[in-house]
């Protein structure tokens, strides 16, 4: 307890607000390590630091020159990895929220190192970056903006599928850009990134669609920085003034004169959302609200790493965290505080000294005890010092033991989180994350950071402790094992499988992919067999040239897209015959090929049918082509070709014959088209006959009839319809007298009636002798001939029907006639 310092020891007051500077780690580097020579960029949420030697600074000659490298350190100064760098001048170095290191070179190449181990993906900025060169970059949580030599900005908003996009042209061709920064998309109104550019005396806001001048006069601004919540902008004018303004440039917040004149600061960043920090070599000013400042002096150059709730200050000797003292902490520890929570903390002191005052304290704050407990729990989260964490939790525990009803969930949760935070803050791990940052980062991402640092054991322990999924850890471990281990394939496979056996949700595909990338194909195959999701195996199998297995797995997955994808790849790779052999005994695959070929590649379809000896199907493809063919002779040619193929097939005799007929019909139609002023090609046999009759070419119709062996019955129908369409009633009457109709006379009646010629229609009613009188009666009625209908009724002596007819009758003569008939029938 002797070395214990008061929690307020590192507090300082700015106007009425307290700030504290917590020392996180000491002795980061050897004393002769000159941080002044480096660019230092830190990942958010207490993440890693990337160091890159500033080439513009003169270097002391040290004998052999070490190769240039980007060095990654933890906040406690432990080297994580050195990435050798020989790609030329670096114009942008920054981190993403998930601790990917982005390196942007002068010629627009971007490398994204995603795992702290030197593995990277790479893409190019394009948009003229190669020609104009990249001048500078600014980063946010999930993307960055680069300034090109032609004064244009290129934004990249995601790294998994980067799409560099040119922002609107601010038209600054000649104007100088004094400084610039960006507002991340999640803090802008438009939800897209906005760039603030200081030029002349004003600031332009540039986004994807346009560029707006904010019309300020106070410039030029040599530095510009945006607060973590995107609400405020800090500006540094050439004359050494700091000016804080809201990010919509409407509200002035504070002004401060640094007194440094034209000596420009090296670094200018926000500390939380309440103050800005300026760095000149070894002097640091922190400008709080109301333009009041704190000054710190160091022995060497200070680098800033802004966080959401403060700022990390890195020097060779130490890593410190500067933040506004959280309200809850302030209310407890501020000298002279009388808040219930501070009384409760005092009670613990008393209790430890076995003083009865402890109880007095409790009684004093009895009404606000629950609130006090809550405050203690919260304040514990804000402490870096384990002793004070414990003290606060003890106070909370003591307080809640007095309370009758209190949910301990938050207390328990805080204990758990603090254990985790303390574990990762340990210097060997070196993640100085605050409680706020932890909540924002989420436990899952913290685990990922531990994995990237190869702390598998710790990650596993924490995951289990926080009841999180552990699969990823095992997978990561297995991947590392595959990469690093020098054992033979079987041993590795066995050790991985035994370790991972029985664990839910393990993706062996990922492990197998790693193995494959390491050049251990056999191991990859072995591992892949354990992958439960068939679909996942496919792309890797394709890479490994295990084509047929890939196809089988794709089919097994039931995902037709995957099958088609494999087939696309195979078709490109294999000779056609071989390709057909592969899909031949896989019906799912061949029907997919068939249906895509039907739409896009007829020739392939024909080849396929030929290969499969599906000759009829092949013939049908040709027939289909003939239908689409406009040119007459080509059309005919195709039909003949298809007929020939079909002709050899016994089971398709009917079709072959029909095709012959089709060709014959076409030829006849062509002749008729030349002779007659009407179109025939494309009509069917029946339609041709119908049209010929309609137009009065009866002999030609008869010729078609005999040519195509049209049955008598059908011909009668067609002739009837044709004549009705021609409205040649005389011909119909004549024709009906000559022969006995093979289709009966009803159709004559119906067709004529449908053509609204009831007079002709009526002619056929008496001919329908086979119909019952009731039907005939109905037919008469439909022709409007009630008397005739009456006669039918008389024949069957249906007096009721007669009455009904009479009721319908509206013509006097008819009524009289019907009356007469009724009388005739009435029993006398």
């Amino acid at each position: 307890m002797a070395s214990l310092t008061a929690p307020t020891a590192d507090w300082e007051v700015v106007a009425d607000t307290f700030y504290r500077k917590v020392q996180l780690y000491t002795a980061l580097w050897d004393a002769d390590f000159n941080l002044n020579d480096y660019f230092v960029r830190g990942a958010p949420y207490g993440g890693a630091l990337a160091l890159w030697k500033d080439e513009s600074k003169p270097q002391p000659y040290k004998g052999h020159q070490s190769k240039p490298a980007i060095e990654m350190y933890s906040s406690s100064g432990r080297l994580i990895r050195k990435i050798p760098w020989d790609k030329g001048s670096i114009r942008g170095l920054g981190w993403s929220e998930d601790e990917k290191l982005l390196v942007v070179t002068q010629d627009g190449m971007v490398r994204c190192y995603y795992d702290l181990q030197g593995d990277f993906t790479q893409f190019s900025l394009g948009n003229g970056a190669e020609d104009f060169g990249v001048l500078d970059c600014r980063f946010w949580g999930s993307g960055f903006v680069a300034l090109l030599g032609n004064q244009r900005f290129v934004a990249v908003s995601r790294y998994d599928e980067p799409r560099p996009r040119l922002l609107a042209d601010p038209h600054l061709a000649d104007a100088e850009i004094h400084s610039w920064t960006l507002i991340p998309p999640n803090y802008t109104l438009s939800r897209h990134v906005e760039v603030l550019v200081a030029t002349g005396s004003t600031i332009l806001v540039v986004d994807a669609s346009d560029s707006q001048d904010q019309v300020l006069q106070q410039g030029p601004f040599s530095h510009i920085t945006v607060s973590p919540n995107g609400k405020f902008v800090g500006l540094y004018t050439g004359e050494g003034k700091v000016w804080v303004i809201s990010s919509d440039f409407q509200e002035n917040h504070s002004e401060y004169d640094t007194g440094m004149g034209s000596n420009l600061p090296l670094d200018f960043a926000w500390c939380g959302n309440s103050s800005v920090v300026l760095v000149w070599e070894d002097e640091v000013h922190m400008v709080g609200p109301h333009g009041v400042a704190l000054r710190y002096y160091y022995d060497s150059r200070v680098h800033l790493v802004p966080e959401i709730d403060g700022v990390r200050m890195i020097t060779t000797e130490s890593c410190e965290f500067l933040q506004k003292v959280p309200d809850v902490t302030e209310s407890i520890f501020r000298i002279g505080s009388t808040s219930p929570a501070s009384v409760l903390v005092d009670a613990i002191d008393q209790l430890e000294q076995k003083s009865p005052k402890a109880d007095d304290n409790i009684q004093l704050i009895r009404p606000q005890l629950a609130e006090a407990v809550d405050a203690c729990v919260k304040a514990a989260g804000q402490e870096f010092n384990v002793h004070w964490q414990k003290q606060l939790l003890k106070a909370a525990s003591f307080g809640k033991s007095v309370l009758e009803l209190y949910s301990s969930d938050e207390f328990v949760e805080m204990c758990e989180v603090l254990r985790v935070l303390n574990a990762v803050r340990y210097y060997e791990v070196g993640l100085p994350i605050t409680y706020e940052q932890f909540l924002r980062l989420t436990p899952e991402k913290l685990i990922q950071r531990l994995l990237n640092r190869q702390h598998h054991q710790l990650a596993l322990k924490i995951s289990e402790y926080l009841r999180l999924a552990t699969e990823k850890i095992y997978i990561h471990w297995a991947c590392m094992k595959v990469r690093v281990s020098t054992d033979d394939d079987d041993t590795i496979c066995r050790s991985i499988v035994t370790k991972l056996n029985g664990k839910h949700g393990i993706s062996f595909e990922e492990i197998a992919r790693t193995a494959y990338e390491e050049g251990r194909g056999r191991l990859a195959t072995q591992l892949l067999n354990y992958e439960p999701r068939a679909g996942r195996q496919v792309p890797l199998l394709l890479n490994m040239e295990e084509d047929e297995i890939a196809l089988d797995k794709a089919i097994e997955s039931g995902d037709t897209d995957l099958v088609s994808y494999v087939l696309m790849n195979l078709k490109k790779k294999h000779p056609l015959a071989n390709f057909f052999r592969i899909i031949n005994n896989r019906p799912v695959a061949s029907s997919l090929i068939e249906s895509s070929a039907r739409e896009q590649d007829r020739e392939l379809l024909k080849d396929m049918y030929y290969q499969d000896d599906r000759r009829a199907d092949g013939a049908f493809v040709i027939l289909r082509e003939s239908l689409e063919q406009e040119n007459f002779s080509a059309k005919l040619e195709k039909i003949k070709l298809s007929t020939k193929v079909l002709g050899d097939l016994k089971e398709h005799a009917l079709e072959a014959k029909a095709m012959e007929e089709a060709a014959k019909l076409l030829q006849i139609q062509e002749v008729y088209e030349k002779d007659l002023p009407t179109k025939f090609i494309g009509l069917s046999v029946n339609e041709t006959i119908l049209d010929l009759i309609r137009l009065g070419y009866n002999s030609r119709a008869a010729k078609i009839k005999s040519e195509f062996k049209v049955p008598e019955k059908r011909f009668w129908w067609l002739k009837l319809r044709g004549l009705v369409a021609k409205r040649d009633w005389g011909e119909i009457e004549e024709w009906s007298k000559t022969k006995k109709s093979p289709i009966g006379w009803e159709p004559f009646f119906n067709e004529c009636l449908a053509a609204r010629n009831s007079k002709v229609a009526a002619l056929f009613i008496p001919k329908c002798t086979h119909l019952p009188p009731a039907d005939r009666m109905d037919m008469w009625i439909r022709c409007g001939m009630l008397v005739k209908a009456g006669e039918e009724a008389v024949k069957v002596k249906d007096i009721n029907a007669l009455e009904a007819l009479r009721a319908r009758s509206k013509v006097q003569s008819e009524t009289l006639e019907l009356d007469r008939m009724m009388n005739q029938l009435k029993p006398k």
Binding site: G505, R624, A658
Partner: protein, 650 residues
């Protein structure tokens, strides 16, 4: 249909999500944009997104993807298309077109529906445009047509499944159902019939396993649902006859005669009146995503339950629609007359407040009277009646050859080829193929009557197993659906049909009960079915006994039990899978959601269903009101004509 409150799947939520996702996509692209849309998506999207909403989100203009590249005025271009290779090629074509035109510096995004596929990406890559396009996906699966009806709106699914043997729609159906499971819990029991249904269930089971791998953290997601009772999958292939028959409900007939697409029907303005005078909210709302106004005097009418009159009419047999319309018209008359009774100011006020509703109702009455008359014109026609008579005789299995003369006559009279082929297909399906001699005869007749290119049509129909020679049909258990055996077993033919106050689902075809729905009854209305099969006439909606028997609860239900004999006569595999979860999780879920008295049965039609089947299921739902809700889901809505058109060569 009354909205489903609290029980099982909430279809309104699905609609909201679909709209939300779409707007999210639009919001993701800064500024004004041109939307280039796959035309086949316009109908489905129009069901939940109005054009004005899209405009609010910065859509300046909509173009069709198939149209040649136009002069786009906005810098941002969003493609929204189904994930077909053809669409991917069209997109790359457009992008490449503009790459050549100087001064066109567009920002492209492409969103594939319902997901971005490897094939599409590969095509974009091969065409060299992948770097110019931001690729995303728009997971649009189920689209609620009604609160009790979900459709994937995959128009091609019938053709793909049974003609081309392309099982993409099985995969999409599985995805959609899996989404449902992730939200509402596993279907405690999956029942079904048919070979493609088997594939669907296999896919579902596989996906369940994969989801466990992907999402092992959520212990809750994959326990059996406590609100959904089971999933019943009906493979269209097991019952081709039902859709081949002419539907005789109001909605069914509208579909047969005018064709309903995405709950909309396009009608001649002369039938339904002028849109200008039309104030009906349901029908005058502009179709959301049509870029150009409707040409000439065609009018689009939305047919859904927002039109109360339509809701009452849609599922009734058409025979009584005229009567119902008369009744409504008389009531409206009386309501209007009410104004004369209004004496005091308050009374007049009351009347005026009702007036808006009355006018809307009047509007809808006018539309439906016009529509009913139009349909009447068809149903009165000789051709319609003749083919209906043939259909009913074939279904009732009189001697099929006695119908040949009528079919012949239809051909001679130049009836629609679809109509003729439907009859032949019914004969083939009911009678296990046509006699070779008959088939050859009809083939010859049709080729000469409708053109020789129908050789291809016959080839297609044969591959679909719709029209076959008797020699080609294998008779073995589960290889074909034997209507002759089932007719008796499941009482498919009901002679006395009461269209006015129906007591059995057979009213939808005036005497034929859809086999598909009978099979569903085998599961959810066992006793009713048994009684009606034995006694001929079932006692009313007589399912009272079932309620107390308690088999409704969870996986304890008896599934197919008792219908084994019938199932043997139906084509394809029988499915009965019980999905269990960890006991603890199941119990937790039960406690959370309470032990519901009322449960939901989800019926999924793979390959499409008809409006009559929907009507029949709603009828059953009404009989079981309070005990069970039925949610109908399908790949698309089909009818006999669409089935024939799948094979039709034009």
């Amino acid at each position: 249909m009354a909205p489903h409150v609290g029980i099982g799947v909430d279809t309104a939520q699905i609609k909201e999500k679909a709209l939300g996702d779409l707007l999210g996509i639009l919001e993701g692209v800064r500024g004004k944009k041109t939307l280039i849309l796959d035309q086949s998506l316009s109908g489905p999207i129009g069901l939940f997104a109005k054009f004005s909403v899209l405009q609010d989100y910065g859509v300046d203009k909509i173009h069709w993807l198939r149209d040649p590249p136009a002069d786009y005025t906005q810098k941002n271009i969003i493609f929204l298309a189904r994930c077909t290779p053809r669409n991917a090629q069209l997109i790359s074509g457009q992008v490449k077109h503009y790459a050549k035109v100087p001064g066109h510096d567009f920002d492209y995004s492409a969103f594939f529906v319902p997901r971005r596929t490897l094939v599409c990406e590969k095509i974009l890559e091969e065409e060299g445009v992948v770097g110019d396009i931001t690729i995303g996906e728009y997971p649009l699966y189920f689209i609620p047509l009604e609160p009790d009806l979900l459709s994937l709106e995959l128009e091609q699914s019938f053709q793909e499944l049974y003609l081309h043997k392309d099982y993409s729609s099985v995969f999409y159906a599985a995805k959609a159902l899996m989404d449902m499971q992730q939200k509402y819990g596993l279907f405690p029991r999956i029942l079904g019939k048919g070979n493609c249904a088997r594939k669907l269930v296999d896919a579902l089971i596989r996906m369940r396993g994969e989801v466990t791998v992907d999402d092992s953290l959520n212990p809750f997601a994959l326990t059996p649902s406590s609100t959904i009772e089971n999933l019943i999958i009906i493979d269209r292939e097991i019952d081709f006859v039902t859709p081949l028959l002419t539907q005789l409900t109001y909605e069914g007939l509208i579909d047969e005669i005018c064709g309903i697409k995405n709950s909309k029907v396009e009608l001649d303005a002369s039938i339904v009146g002028n849109p200008q005078q039309n104030v009906n909210a349901g029908s005058s709302s502009t179709s959301a995503t049509s870029p150009t106004s409707q040409p000439g005097n065609k009018r689009t009418v939305i047919l859904d339950s927002s039109d109360k009159l339509y809701e009452d009419l849609r599922d009734t047999n058409f025979a009584i629609v005229g009567n119902l319309l008369n009744k409504v018209s008389r009531r409206l008359q009386a309501d209007y007359e009410g104004r004369h009774q209004a004496k005091t100011v308050t009374e007049i006020k009351q009347f005026v407040s009702k007036l808006g509703g009355l006018q809307a109702e009047h509007q809808s009455l006018r539309i439906h009277t016009g529509l009913a008359e139009e349909i009447m014109n068809h149903t009165r026609s000789d051709l319609f009646n003749k083919s209906l008579e043939v259909q009913q005789n074939l279904a009732a299995c009189g001697d099929p050859s006695s119908q040949h003369e009528s079919i012949e006559e239809l051909i001679y009279r130049g009836a629609n080829i679809e109509q003729v082929l439907r009859l032949l297909c019914i004969e083939s399906c009911v009678g296990n193929g046509l006699r070779p001699k008959d088939l050859e005869f009809f083939k010859r007749e049709i080729l000469q009557a409708y053109g020789y290119h129908h050789i291809l049509t016959f080839d297609g129909l044969e591959k679909l197993n719709l029209l076959q020679s008797r020699n080609a049909v294998q008779i073995a258990p589960n290889a074909i659906t034997s209507y002759s055996s089932l007719r008796k077993l499941l009482r498919l033919i009901v002679d006395e049909v009461n269209e006015h106050d129906p007591d059995d689902i057979s009213y939808v075809y005036s005497g034929y009960a859809p086999l598909s729905v009978r099979l569903i009854q085998c599961i959810i209305q066992k006793q009713y079915l048994q009684m009606s099969a034995k006694g001929g006439k079932a006692p009313g909606a007589g399912t009272g006994a079932e309620a107390s028997s308690g088999y409704l609860i969870g996986a304890g239900s008896t599934g197919w039990k008792g219908s084994e004999e019938a199932l043997r006569h139906v084509k394809g595999k029988t499915i009965d899978e019980i999905q269990r979860g960890e006991d603890k999780a199941v119990r937790a879920r039960m406690i959370l959601n309470g032990q519901n008295e009322q449960k939901m049965a989800v019926v999924f039609f793979l390959g499409g269903c008809t409006y009559t089947e929907i009507a029949a299921l709603r009828f059953i739902g009404k009989q079981q009101e309070g005990r069970r809700k039925i949610l109908i889901a399908t790949t698309s809505i089909i009818n006999g004509n669409k089935m024939i058109q799948a094979a039709l060569s034009t």
